[in-house]
Symmetry: C2
Subunit: 235 residues, 2 copies
DNA sequence: GTCATCATGTAAGCCGTTACATGATTGC
DNA sequence: GCAATCATGTAACGGCTTACATGATGAC
């Protein structure tokens, strides 16, 4: 989960840990309170598995040899957006690798058996543009059928006469918001079926991206995949 | 959390582990997939801490001495509701104690600093009838202010032009459902303020309940505090 | 010079999950 | 007798949180 979110953010641009956390908090509503205690170890894992590299290390991609000037090398990887970097030491800017893109695509497309909650779905939807249209549709429909089941359960509960006012109100509210979630999904699915074939919204994730062009970090970014809390899950 | 849910269910009637899990799944939408691997250890902890006792053991409440016939003693604690008990061995029927009621009241009233998510709130609301009116109001208002903050964050995100269609849709949906949650809460708060003072809905939890009357298990129960998933949290 | 913020990390521990192991009861 | 369901538990492990430790930079 965290890995997926991190890789998704890094698909767009290079970032350092602190900044990743800020985006997680401010832009993705779910995962709002990931702490450094889980973020940094996650980054370390990703680095060990070869999914990301810390800036300055040009990975094993040949063609861009190190100059020998570490400082110069690192300077080239400072994030360009935002106010000029203020602190320039201690920051470890991470970049996603080909292997990382592969992992990202795999995580994104993974169809988790039972453990798909709203956070997981929301996260995947936020990065849905990296998903091939068919997988996107499956994601939406899988979610829809889960919500449908939940709706039926909610209806059963709400039908219980014996609930006190609080439990009843809770049950009815649950029923109603599930209904609204479903109709939202239905709109998304319809849009996907009709206009979806245009391919406009598919940025193939494991794209051939042979030379890690530094200018990409500065210019690419259709902005962060942001999207606040669908989840009632967190604060 | 789990402890709170278990104690809440046991406030109403005696139950054995398997049945507790069934209710958790079917009636409380959150906590839908607690597994035995967490449920049984939780029950064991509660038993060790004196919050619950297994049927047959009359706790340290004097006045109802053991007859010596264990089988007879246990028979008196089979749950009376539902179809006649089919399997009659291996079941450990738990009953809440005075100490358990104390713990329940404490857990229910606890004001968790930051870690209050929808599950936690939903659970507390489901058992809100055990909360004194003032605490109930605080619970609702605390939740409202959290949602208010979330709404503002969601608005900021939704205002971002650069979102792709999926992230945008997600952000807008999040904004709208948060708005609806807030207006639902506002209705609850209003109801609480006006009609709330009647005391009708307060069953003081740590009530004096000196002799554990077996008939209570059969007759009391204003039904389980049930209420399905407010949480988008789980399946 | 000191405070707030930025920035990275480690250690302990909680809470829960999956998977495994066991056995009784009922229906066929 | 066998399978399904009911019923209880243990063991290993995973992920995330809290709390702690450290230090650079910039503002005042």
């Amino acid at each position: 989960m965290l890995e997926l979110a991190i890789l998704g953010l890094l698909e767009e641009q290079e970032l350092h840990g602190y900044e990743i956390r800020r985006r997680l908090r401010e832009e993705l509503g779910f995962l709002a309170n990931v702490s450094f205690g889980s973020l940094y170890p996650a980054l370390a894992r990703l680095e060990r598995s070869g999914a990301v590299v810390a800036a300055g290390e040009v990975a094993s991609t040949p063609g861009i040899p190190m100059t020998g000037s570490l400082a110069g090398e690192r300077a080239a990887f400072w994030p360009r957006r935002g106010p000029a970097p203020r602190s320039r030491r201690g920051r470890k800017v991470y970049r996603i690798t080909e292997e990382g893109r592969r992992q990202f695509a795999a995580l994104l497309a993974a169809e988790p058996g039972a453990g798909e909650d709203a956070r997981s779905f929301g996260l995947r939807l936020a990065f849905a543009r990296y998903l091939p249209p068919a997988a996107r549709l499956r994601l939406l429909e899988r979610r829809r059928s889960q919500l449908q089941e939940r709706l039926e359960a909610a209806r059963r509960v709400a039908a219980d006469h014996q609930l006190d006012r609080y439990a009843r109100s809770l049950a009815e509210h649950a029923k109603e918001s599930t209904e609204q979630d479903i109709s939202w999904l239905d709109r998304l699915i319809a849009a996907e079926r009709s206009g979806g074939g245009d391919g406009v919204h598919w940025t193939p994730s494991p794209a051939p991206m042979p030379s890690p062009d530094p200018s990409r970090a500065a210019s690419a970014a259709p902005s962060s995949a942001a999207a606040a809390a669908v989840t009632k899950g967190l604060p």
